[in-house]
């Protein structure tokens, strides 16, 4: 299983968001859990949009001569700017209106970072095990 594939990361994001929201509901309270859920949904959707923008950039840039790469760059820049504006507007509204718990929002926004760190740790552990296995690599672990 490839932990660092986009599909695994996307599924992992939702799983970790659900776990964080449930833990927050149980350990802190409903208002904090709502903040975690809202922040997490925003962060995960932002990650999806980033992935789509990068895929679009790669698809548009492929097969084009270098002098015609300006359209792909413009497409990516517009997508990035739109994404930033939407995220800024939503966070501005949430914090400014005081509708959600601010610390919960920060925890929710950390969902993607947490997923990436866990995926990196899982991938490293997998690689170490593979290297230490006699049939796959050297007979001893590298470190």
């Amino acid at each position: 299983m490839d932990f660092l594939s986009p599909r695994t990361l996307k599924v992992g994001n939702w799983v970790i968001l659900a776990a964080l929201t449930a833990l927050s509901r149980l350990m802190v309270g409903t208002e904090f859990a709502v903040g975690v859920a809202v922040g997490g949904v925003l962060a995960v959707l932002n990650f999806h949009a980033l992935h789509r923008a990068l895929n679009g950039l790669a698809a548009r840039a492929q097969g084009q001569p270098p002098e015609q790469g300006g359209r792909a760059k413009a497409y990516f820049a517009v997508r990035q700017a739109l994404r930033y504006i939407v995220v800024l507007a939503v966070i501005f509204y949430l914090v400014g209106s005081g509708r959600v718990h601010v610390l919960g929002l920060v925890v929710g926004l950390s969902t993607v970072v947490l997923t990436l760190m866990l995926a990196a740790v899982a991938e490293t552990v997998k690689l170490k095990r593979k290297e230490a296995h006699p049939s796959h690599g050297t007979p001893h672990s590298v470190s």
């Binding site: 990361l9 790669a58 966070i91 920060v106 926004l109």
Partner: protein
Amino acid sequence: MSLRLALGALVSLLLASAAWAAEPAAAGTAAGLGSFFSYAVMAAGFGMGIAAFGTGIGQGLAIQKSVEGIARNPEASGKITVTMLIGLAMIESLAIYALVVALIILFAYPMAKPIGAALGLKM
């Protein structure tokens, strides 16, 4: 040389703003509260500016190296794109944290009421 000039301009700007903000603080509690909030606004603005500066440099370098890698070895574009996606998401989260902290300072600073009360103002 340009770095020295930029640092000098930043220091003089900070010193000037401190002197400007410290003057009304001696005038009274309302002015003191005004200087407190002017410092808060400056902190939010500078914080977000520095975060955007660092994020811009970081993302620019990441994309530059990834594109160079893809140009050298187009067959590895899938792996490079995924690694770039992970790196960009990590870098971008820092800017989002800075944005949230700046907005907390501006709109939801938890110490605003205690500080206002300490200055003798009803908030």
